[in-house]
């Protein structure tokens, strides 16, 4: 697989920031009350991720190792401020729906995580693709969670009524507990689909090689170092 396409596949499916890495759960649980909020949050984070990865990777030889975290944060914070102002100017309704979570993208662990583990060690273009993959994975995850919560909790998707009028919305799904229910169910589903060996441990060696990862990356020696560049 082409290494750029591989980055996209990695971010969207194999190491999806929500369903696999469980990063950035604070905006995930808080803003996904509707599909449009989820996608809006995801796309604004994607914009920041791509630019942050590109810039940090380009600056990686200039940033002294000892102050790399403040350096990364300065880059990310500047980008978030730009996104924040643009959204306030052009998408005021989404801006008010997402509220404090737009400025909080600065401390989103996905962004700092990718900058630290990928952009600091790889070339700018590859890092931008990594950011794009992670960002799209984040957007898809948030969109899915938002859509599920919206259907169950309000009977709509992207504001369009999809359930018959006899359907009584289960309002717990647009409240905080619903976010946990939907996140856990979708994570379980993704685990089940991703690799047979991830959930049942019965896959043989050949299958493991085909799917690349046993799902338990913390204990698996050969995959522990993944993401640190090859």
């Amino acid at each position: 697989m082409n290494k750029y396409v591989e980055r996209l596949y990695n971010g969207i499916w194999k190491e999806n920031p929500i369903f696999v890495q469980m990063l950035g759960l604070c905006p995930t649980l808080a803003v996904t009350t509707s599909a449009i909020n989820g996608v809006g949050m995801g796309l604004s984070s994607t914009a920041v991720l791509v630019c942050a990865n590109l810039l940090i990777s380009a600056l990686r030889h200039l940033i002294p190792d000892r102050v790399r975290l403040p350096g990364e944060i300065v880059v990310v914070a500047s980008l978030v401020t730009i996104v924040d102002m643009l959204m306030e100017g052009f998408l005021p309704s989404l801006y008010s729906a997402l509220g404090i979570y737009i400025p909080l993208i600065v401390v989103n662990c996905i962004i700092l995580g990718r900058a630290e583990s990928f952009a600091m060690k790889n070339t700018p273009i590859l890092s931008a693709f990594d950011g794009l993959g992670m960002g799209l994975g984040f957007t898809i995850a948030l969109g899915l969670i938002g859509a599920c919560r919206e259907v169950l909790g309000a009977g709509t998707v992207f504001g369009i009524q999809v359930t018959p009028s006899s359907f009584q919305p289960i309002s717990i799904f647009i409240l905080a507990p619903g976010a946990f229910f939907v996140l856990s169910m979708l994570t379980a589903l993704q685990n089940k689909l991703k690799a047979p060996c991830a959930t049942n441990g019965s896959a043989d060696k050949e299958e493991k090689e085909n799917f690349g990862c046993t799902g338990n990356c913390m204990t698996c020696a050969e995959h522990k170092t993944e993401g640190e560049g090859k």
Binding site: Q168, I170, S171, I172, F173, L175, P177, F181
Partner: protein, 319 residues
């Protein structure tokens, strides 16, 4: 014929109790309250009961079949969950709500955590809170003899005085199973006599709630008695707080558990948004059970009787 000596490893003393027999006892103990509820609220209450139990048993069967696990519906635990859930519903509820609650109780709260004995929270109560948050209007509209009215607790909150005798017998609006104190006490007495439950949790719970309300709420003993008889306190204390899976096993822990339950119920009732707080108090206390058990672990025979708390703090400092 020579006498054969059977040599075997411990345990040598076995109890004839099984999960099934205990669950049967609990179900039998709930029958007086159930019968009273059906008698008072009519046939729809019976339908609610049947639908909830069926939903619980069927979802347990379907899940275990689908996951290729041993089928455990014959141990009656799903029936008991269904009964508790149904008795926590208003009688006029549309039937699909208890069905949804039954599925949620068994699949999400019980089976996803590993089935009976693994659930961290009382399944019936978690489902009840799920429904209460989702369908607040339908779950808290109570009618009695075609007349819709506030539950005694809500009425007392508004400063009305209640008739203690009718609350004791159950001539009040409320959920199917919680209204009749006398029917619940008959069931509870059966459980105590059969040694299915001990009185530690229920009594500590009820006394703590009463004392709390006496101190912080109203200094009138009659008012406190009405608070104890009203709402789900008696039902919750004897039938839900004593659930084996979600209550502490250590005797000292059971007293602590009862006190925590009583304090939470008192706080919710006096200062909460709703007049009733037993369900939330129980599921919140369920979450504290592992900590309570760790803190009240008795010393092993022959060891220094160091208290559990001291051990816990010593461990922390050691780190």
């Amino acid at each position: 014929m020579s006498k054969l000596f059977n040599v075997s490893s411990s345990p040598h003393v076995r109890s004839s109790e099984t999960t099934r027999s205990i669950m049967m006892d609990v179900a039998i103990a709930m029958l007086p309250a159930t019968a009273y509820g059906v008698f008072q609220f009519g046939l729809h209450a019976l339908l609610v009961l049947i639908v909830t139990i069926l939903a619980c048993v069927l979802s347990e069967y379907v899940y275990e079949k689908g996951m290729k696990k041993p089928i455990t519906i014959s141990d009656f635990s799903a029936v008991v969950t269904g009964m508790i859930l149904a008795l926590n519903m208003p009688a006029t509820i549309p039937l699909w709500i208890p069905a949804l609650g039954g599925v949620f109780a068994i699949i999400v709260v019980k089976q996803l955590y590993g089935g009976l004995g693994q659930n961290f929270m009382n399944p019936a109560l978690a489902a009840r809170c799920f429904l209460l948050i989702s369908f607040a209007g339908k779950m808290s509209s109570f009618t009695l003899d075609g007349w819709s009215g506030a539950t005694p607790l809500a009425a007392m909150r508004n400063g009305e005085t209640m008739d203690l005798a009718s609350m004791f017998i159950g001539k009040i609006p409320g959920t199917i199973g919680e209204v009749s104190v006398i029917a619940l006490l008959i069931g509870a007495a059966y459980l105590v006599v059969r040694k299915v439950i001990s009185l530690r949790i229920p009594l500590t719970y009820i006394i703590t709630t009463a004392v709390f309300i006496f101190i912080f709420g109203n200094h009138d003993p009659y008012y406190v008695a009405c608070e104890v008889c009203g709402g789900g306190l008696i039902f919750g204390a004897f039938f839900m707080a004593t659930d084996y899976v979600t209550s502490p096993v250590t005797p000292a822990g059971q007293y602590v558990f009862g006190v925590v339950l009583g304090l939470l119920t008192g706080i919710f009732r006096l200062w909460g948004a709703s007049a009733e707080g037993v369900s939330y108090a129980i599921i919140l206390s369920n979450l504290l059970v592992p900590v309570i058990e760790k803190a009240t672990l008795p010393a092993a025979f022959g060891r220094e009787s160091e208290s559990g708390w001291a051990k816990m703090f010593a461990k922390k400092e050691g780190k």
